[in-house]
């Protein structure tokens, strides 16, 4: 009796290997997804905009500058002063761009755009400081993108009104 039941128990042992494999795959996925999607993007409450263009397929290596409502400048989770920000941009703005896109235009101005993401309650002077640095000799960035969140409801209403006309 005792021998038969212990044999039955051994026979019903669950093989955990596939489950552990799947679980580790999930962990690796989450670790990568967290890192890739959020490194450049601070958690900010950006103002809504109706006219904003979709930010689909951003250029690989695009420069992001986050400005929180206290006026701190943050790049890749790293808070920095405005002078450190300038040094960071100087080091990266003239790096080669993907697909052979030009780095400078005929006047020597940087062709690489910079996306400035600021909180809706950030004083604009902090964004202006970034703009001021962008315009300095040796940087000469003139293409700036202002990060906003899309006002889907207002956009749908505007589209409906345009169609009604």
């Amino acid at each position: 009796m005792g021998q038969a039941s212990s044999a039955l128990m051994e026979g019903s042992t669950l093989d955990m290997t596939p489950m552990i494999d799947v679980v580790f795959q999930l962990i690796i996925f989450f670790m990568i997804a967290i890192d890739m999607s959020q490194q450049d993007l601070e958690d900010l409450q950006m103002p809504k905009s109706v006219q904003a263009a979709d930010d689909k397929d951003p250029e690989e290596g695009r420069l992001y500058v986050n400005v929180n409502r206290k006026g701190d400048y943050i790049i890749k989770r790293q808070p920095m002063t405005i002078d450190e920000l300038e040094a960071n941009l100087r080091a990266r703005v003239f790096l080669p761009r993907p697909k052979g896109l030009p780095v400078k235009d005929k006047d020597g101005l940087a062709e690489r755009p910079i996306l400035i993401r600021a909180d809706r309650a950030t004083e604009f002077k902090h964004v202006q400081k970034v703009m001021y640095k962008c315009a300095l000799e040796g940087l000469k960035v003139w293409k700036l993108e202002l990060g906003v969140s899309q006002d889907e409801q207002a956009k749908a209403a505007a589209d409906a009104a345009a169609q009604a006309k």
Binding site: I27, A52, R69, R120, K125, W142, E145
Partner: protein
């Protein structure tokens, strides 16, 4: 032979703690993950032909200046005012009334007034024939210190709605 079987069954690893920890990790990552939401962007430019970026003057068909300023002088603005202002803004309220918009030097009442005045100006300008012409209709925005990012985005939104696509920012912060 029987002794060897016993030894094998004794060395079997207990997977339970590892599975526990692994599930804890999965739950942690699931709770923390925020997938990237599709955001929007507003295309703007810094002036190419002034200040530290001197280039040849571009052909300008029409130039519209908009100044955005606070109605409350910065020196009069205490920390409490800033906090109240931000709380109001966070609650979804408008910041109009706290800011004044000057279109070509003349104040506009509100965003709707700005929208209609810009539409009227745009209707008077002959239609651009190509992209170069479109760029020759310049709109310069000059937000003064104290203005919030949200207020500027509102003005940019209205300008884009009125088909002014070449937006340029002017003005250097006082303490830059």
């Amino acid at each position: 032979m029987g002794a060897r079987d016993e030894a094998t069954s004794e060395t079997r690893m207990d997977m339970t703690p590892m599975i526990d920890v692994t599930f804890q990790l999965i739950i942690f990552f699931m709770c923390n993950i925020k997938f990237r939401m599709l955001e929007g962007k507003l295309q703007t430019y810094l002036p190419k032909d002034v200040g530290v970026n001197p280039t040849q003057h571009e052909h300008v068909l029409e130039k519209i200046d908009i100044r955005i300023e606070r109605t409350v002088a910065k020196s009069e603005l205490g920390l409490d005012d800033v906090a109240r202002f931000r709380k109001w803004s966070d609650a979804g309220g408008t910041t109009m009334g706290q800011v004044r918009i000057l279109l070509r030097g003349e104040p506009v009442k509100d965003m709707e007034a700005l929208r209609s005045r810009l539409a009227a100006i745009r209707a008077r300008i002959p239609g651009p024939t190509d992209a170069a012409d479109e760029d020759s209709i310049k709109m310069n925005l000059e937000p003064l210190p104290g203005v919030l990012y949200e207020d500027v985005v509102r003005v940019v939104d209205v300008a884009l709605d009125a088909k002014f696509t070449s937006l340029t920012f002017r003005g250097v912060p006082i303490d830059a």
